[in-house]
Amino acid sequence: MLTSEEWEVLLLSLRVGFFCVLFSLPPGIALGWLLARCQFKGKILLDGICHLPLVLPPVVTGYLLLLLFGRRGLLGGFFEQVLGVRLAFDWKGAVLASAVVGFPLMLRAVRLGIESVDPRLERVARTLGAGRLRAFCTVTLRLAAPSLLVGSLLTFARSLGEFGATITFVSNIAGETRTIPSAIYTYLNQPGEDAAAARLVVISIALSLAALLASEWVARRMAPPK
């Protein structure tokens, strides 16, 4: 049904999506908590900056990633020399591109989840002897868990469709950075490969739809009873 190249593309997309969600969760939770629970100067500005990838043209996001995380970039040099991780032309760069682009979705979901947790419950846990971190993990996060799941599914679905930033930052290298959208783009540009493109389009739609429906179902299940 699928050629080996197409399997490679599909598995790469799933791998990129999985790690994208994994690496988006910690900053998503941290910033979500910060924006939900704290008041500080410049909060609105921070909120705006976190939502930028949602409104910037993806190619611009990709170019900014190249500036920051490319070899000569501010952070890219650190990654390469200190951590030994090369981001450009590598699937890890594709993960970064997807994570940046999907971050606003994760953040919104987490923030709403934490905001919906009654702070008094956290304080009760504290009076019963739990430290701040323990109270946060066992009470707040547990109660906000459905929102985390929704955020994760949305970020995953977004990662499956991420193209502009990916191709600008990590190019389109078969087996390394050729995710489903990049592969569809490649096939569409070659006369006669329409069938292969069509197969990937169908898979892409099916996966994204499944993720979106799952997130919707979770959101409904966990909504407070009326």
Partner: protein
């Protein structure tokens, strides 16, 4: 509230007049970005000519035209995509002109040049580390020419798995400018435009099919304005601007030969 919505709808949908009618839409290859914009500013304005440009990879543009995009002129970096549209009968008959030529060069980030001898037997793959940036050899004209040249020079095999295929030649240039790739294959004209790369070798002209930039009017859109623009592109003044940017005006050569006879 409703009044505001109505007001905004009217204002935002108004046509900002360009004089009589709208300027022709030209779908042009990415490598023509700088030269065409300068051409219109330097010479086009003197003649009261305007155009609206859409720059992208020639393959993407050809596909868009095939799907009915409202382009008036198509200026491709490769005859293959022009011929694709001609086969689909989407080009106005008799309007095609093979206008410009170009050359391929190997570039490196400025200050990081290395020795390259453009001949068979030279160990090109060993001359630099990591990946070679180029237009996607599957469909981008610059990438197709690059692949032909690299194959002719016997360097292609040793570069397997070391390519960074970009969606158009300008994106490949950016990879080299940013130092992300130690080397890239782009047009000589692109290397001229960028201050952040240096040319380390010119690839032999005979190593690939002739680089020809054909321009033509899209079928059903050959209006007076469009034909004026086409004639303007073929004028000696335009040829001078193209030449200044490193393109080889093919048409001018043909004109000169005619005058000699």
């Amino acid at each position: 509230m409703f009044g505001i919505v109505v007001f905004l709808s009217c204002v935002l949908s108004a046509n900002f007049a360009y004089g009589d009618g709208k300027p022709p839409v030209v779908f042009a290859a990415a490598s023509l970005n700088t030269v065409l914009q300068e051409l219109m500013k330097a010479e086009g304005e003197k003649r009261g000519l305007r155009a609206r440009f859409s720059f992208a990879g020639s393959a993407a543009l050809a596909r868009q035209i095939a799907e009915g995009a409202p382009a008036d002129l198509f200026f491709s970096a490769n005859v293959r995509w022009m011929e694709y549209l001609e086969k689909e009968e989407l080009i106005a008959a008799g309007t095609r002109v093979d206008l410009l030529g170009n050359r391929l060069v190997v570039v490196a980030p400025k200050g990081e040049g290395f020795e390259v001898e453009p001949r068979r037997g030279f160990d090109f793959a060993g001359a630099f580390s990591d990946r070679l940036a180029l237009g996607d050899p599957g469909h981008v004209p610059a990438g197709i020419y690059a692949r032909q040249a690299l194959e002719q020079l016997g360097w292609w095999r040793s570069l397997a798995g070391r390519l960074a295929p970009a969606p158009d030649v300008r994106a490949a240039l950016v990879f080299v400018e940013r130092g992300e790739c130690a080397a890239g294959v782009v047009y000589a004209t692109d290397a001229m435009v960028s201050a952040k790369v240096e040319v380390v070798a010119e690839l032999p002209v005979g190593a690939h099919e002739p680089i020809v930039y054909p321009v033509a009017a899209v079928r059903g859109r050959a209006s007076e304005k469009v034909e004026q623009l086409l004639r303007f592109f073929q004028s000696p003044e335009a040829a001078a601007v193209f030449a200044r940017h490193g393109f080889t005006p093919l048409n001018a050569k043909a004109e000169k030969e005619e005058r000699k006879e």
